[in-house]
């Protein structure tokens, strides 16, 4: 049975309609493993470049997506590389909307906060980088069957 079944489900015409509205630039599904982050960065980088982002804007987007995936790998899946991450990049006029989905238990979002940067210690920078690099981030209700959906928005500049 083809593993494309999940990607191909639903009405293909309605998906084509999405893309016609200029919506989706990229949808990506990868194993939650550190050696896949290069791939994620390469794909997201090209999608952001193709939508007219400057080099600095591309770098910010790539860092935020990488950090969000790392947090899923480390904290949501506790390092289990058999789990998967979905990444969706859409364009909404002058903004890129990046959605990162995992299939872990719903996280207590109150627990996810950047640490005090005054205190110098290794770790605890990921969520801070995400907030600095993005114009807006929020956890929104995930699609059926998924665990968490982090939506990040960046103005194309």
């Amino acid at each position: 049975m083809s593993s494309l079944d999940n990607l191909a489900q639903g009405d293909p015409m309605s998906r084509a309609g999405d893309a016609a509205a200029g919506a989706r630039l990229l949808a990506l599904r990868v194993p939650a493993s550190p050696d896949r982050l290069r791939l994620v960065r390469a794909a997201v980088s090209e999608a952001a470049l193709a939508s007219g982002c400057s080099e600095q804007c591309v770098r910010d987007i790539v860092l935020a997506v990488d950090e969000a995936c790392q947090n899923i790998i480390k904290h949501a899946y506790h390092g289990d590389p058999s789990r998967e991450i979905l990444i969706d990049v859409c364009r909404d006029e002058k903004r890129l909307v990046l959605e990162i989905v995992d299939f872990a238990d719903p996280v207590d979002t109150a627990q996810i906060k950047p640490r005090n940067l005054g205190e110098i210690r290794p770790g605890g920078l990921g969520t801070h980088f995400i907030q600095e690099c993005m114009d807006a981030t929020e956890y929104v209700p995930p699609p059926d069957g998924a665990g968490n959906l982090l939506r990040m928005v960046k103005r194309i500049s």
Binding site: P34, L37, V62, L63, D66, L117, L125, F129, E132
Partner: protein
């Protein structure tokens, strides 16, 4: 990612290149802590670093703190623009000693 270590006088120069990410940062961490463990001054040449994430920054911070405890010098050299941006985001651009060149760093690290 590659990580090359050479010795200039009593300073170890660790030249990093490529992407320092969750996959490669453990190697960077080990290399830096090894050098710091020799009670040598350590300079990290970051001119060829194309990308660094929070795990890479954490490795730098850990080496920096270990060096401070053992009272050896620790500095960064010719930090590439993408890496500098990330250090700035982490507010570490004023915490680390940052030199323009290895020569400057060796002098500063005497």
């Amino acid at each position: 990612m590659t990580c090359e270590i050479r010795h200039e006088g009593d300073v170890a120069v660790v030249a990093l290149s490529g992407d320092i990410d969750l996959e490669s940062s453990p190697k960077v961490r080990t290399a830096l802590l090894d050098c710091v463990g020799l009670k040598q001054g350590v300079l990290v040449d970051m001119s060829e670093v194309s990308y660094i994430d929070s795990s890479g920054v954490a490795s730098l911070v850990e080496a920096f703190q270990t060096a401070r405890k053992s009272q050896t010098r620790f500095g960064l050299v010719s930090v590439s623009q993408p890496a500098m941006r990330v250090l700035e985001l982490a507010r570490l651009d004023r915490v680390f000693a940052i030199y323009d060149s290895v020569a400057d760093g060796v002098q500063g690290a005497q």
